[in-house]
Amino acid sequence: MGALLNQRFMTLAVLAVVIAVLPLVFPSSYYFRVASLVWVSALAAIGLNILMGQAGQVSLGHAAFFGIGAYAVAIGPTHLGIPPWAAILVGAVLSAVLAYLVGRPILRLKGHYLAIATLGLGVLIALVISTESGWTGGPDGMPVERLTLFGWRVSGSNTWYWVTGALLLIGTWIALNLDETPTGRAFRALHDSEVAAQVVGVDVARFKLQAFVIAAVYASIAGSALAFMNGFINPDQAGFLHSVELVTIVVLGGLGSIVGSIVGAAVLVTLPQALTIFHEYEHLLLGLIIIVSMIFMRNGIVPSLSGLFLRRARS
């Protein structure tokens, strides 16, 4: 128990130190921007990891909630006069309600069937966003008003680095909190054996729904942050490819590992930037690297490497 508490504390401390120290080695504000993208993707991935890694349910349409968060902060202030900060909450609540309503029927499905149903949800939301051009600007996207908090205008890559870093810390803290609670245990139990979870009294449908709603809110808040940071938003953020990217981050980093989701996001966001020097071979190399790392680290980067490290330490 003490060890686990320490492990949670250590994870947060290391993450805080990394966020605080990285700017010291950043040569330009471009690096701040890339790092902010990592924090935002990691935040969305952590939420999805609670659903996929802990509760064992797949979602192939998760960018829909990312898009709802993003468009809430774009549409709310522009069309409805909602203060930008409040629009974040509106997006999160909308995502939660949608996840709740849609989750009830589709979380009865298992495996591939659930994957297709969530994929359908993602495609549907992306379609609505790109066709309702009166509200959303259609496929061209729309500008996002700057976020102001208590008269402070939040702008600039450096500022957003710290804001997204703080969001990631809070998101990580909450995800780690869940682990040693009845709810977190119920998630992991229904992942391992749904029937055994049921007979000890776990209301499986209820907990699947909770995990789905939590994951939706994480994605929504990450979406809002990205929209504010970019000052612009387009339907790609809600699209299928972004959903696949989120799933890839979670699986590549390690299902069930919170740290894994952060590492996965770091790899998947920075690697394409680093590979631009290979010009036309960029995507080929990215794909190859992902395939090779999944073959050699099939549990994901973090669980595989920490397993290796523990074995070395023992022998």
Partner: protein, 260 residues
């Protein structure tokens, strides 16, 4: 005073009557064993009683309430707990966490306090862990508390399932072959454990192939054959019933039983 009564239960799978007109009842503190050759419908009967399958006919009463067709977690909330013949352990959780999940219904479980890990959540977690460790000790697994359950040997997993089922503080416990794959010493331990549980007033329903164990600890025995009840009575009555001897033990077994 019975606590669990199943009446005229029947279920078919693709036209095959797996269970057909079976009934039983069990009282607090009593051990009822259900025996029969492979395919007699014992596990199917368990799956119906614990809400995993929906019976096509018959009723189940738990403490005077009609619970026919309730879901497994609703039955668990009413005091019914079970183990599985083919292990259903939470592989990626530690042994202790497995038992802690068993205390799910005894814990307050709301989402917001969990997300922010309020002091009450931490306190409850400590209490649950302490209770789980006590249960692990009672099945002889105290040293394995923080070992991932997936790496425990088979016999240990069997006992872990019993501990997890007991963690819910059930009024009725269904045990599906608790001694399968266990050596003589482990079987002896399980025998003691079941007796203890029954002595605390829990009604135990047992499916088991180990006849020595069944004859020794059962108060009553129900014999099934091809989904139908064949005989019911005390261990002595069942052992001496020519129908049972014929159907279940066979000619050779009958000679052995006579000598035992």
């Amino acid at each position: 005073m019975t606590i669990l009564t199943a009446t005229d239960i029947g279920i078919s799978f693709g036209g095959v009557k797996a269970v057909d007109g079976v009934g039983f009842s069990v009282s607090p503190g009593q051990i009822l064993s259900i025996i029969g050759p492979n395919g007699a419908g014992k596990t199917t009967l368990f799956n119906i009683v614990s809400g995993i399958y929906a019976a096509s006919r018959g009723t189940i009463h738990l403490a005077d309430e009609d619970v026919t067709g309730l879901s497994p977690h609703d039955l668990a909330a009413r005091g019914l707990s079970r183990t599985f013949q083919n292990l259903q352990i939470f592989q990626r959780m530690t042994a202790c966490e497995n038992v802690m999940v068993g205390r799910h219904l005894r814990e307050k479980c709301s989402l917001l306090p969990a997300l922010f890990r309020t002091p009450s959540v931490t306190r409850q977690n400590r209490e649950t862990r302490a209770a789980a460790l006590d249960l692990l000790a009672s099945v002889g697994l105290k040293d394995a508390a923080d070992v991932p359950a997936g790496s425990l040997p088979y016999g240990a997993c069997k006992r872990l399932e019993i501990a997890r089922a007991l963690a819910a503080e059930p009024r009725v416990l269904l045990l599906d072959e608790p001694a399968a794959g266990c050596n003589a010493v482990e079987t002896e331990e399980i025998d003691h454990l079941i007796r203890q549980v029954a002595d605390r007033g829990v009604a135990v329903v047992l499916v088991e192939h180990d006849m020595k164990l069944v004859m020794k600890i059962s108060d009553r025995i129900l014999v099934l054959e091809r989904g139908r009840p064949l005989a019911e009575g005390t261990p002595r009555e069942v052992r001496d019933d020519p129908k049972v001897v014929e159907a279940y033990l066979g000619q050779h077994g009958a000679r052995e039983a006579a000598r035992a």
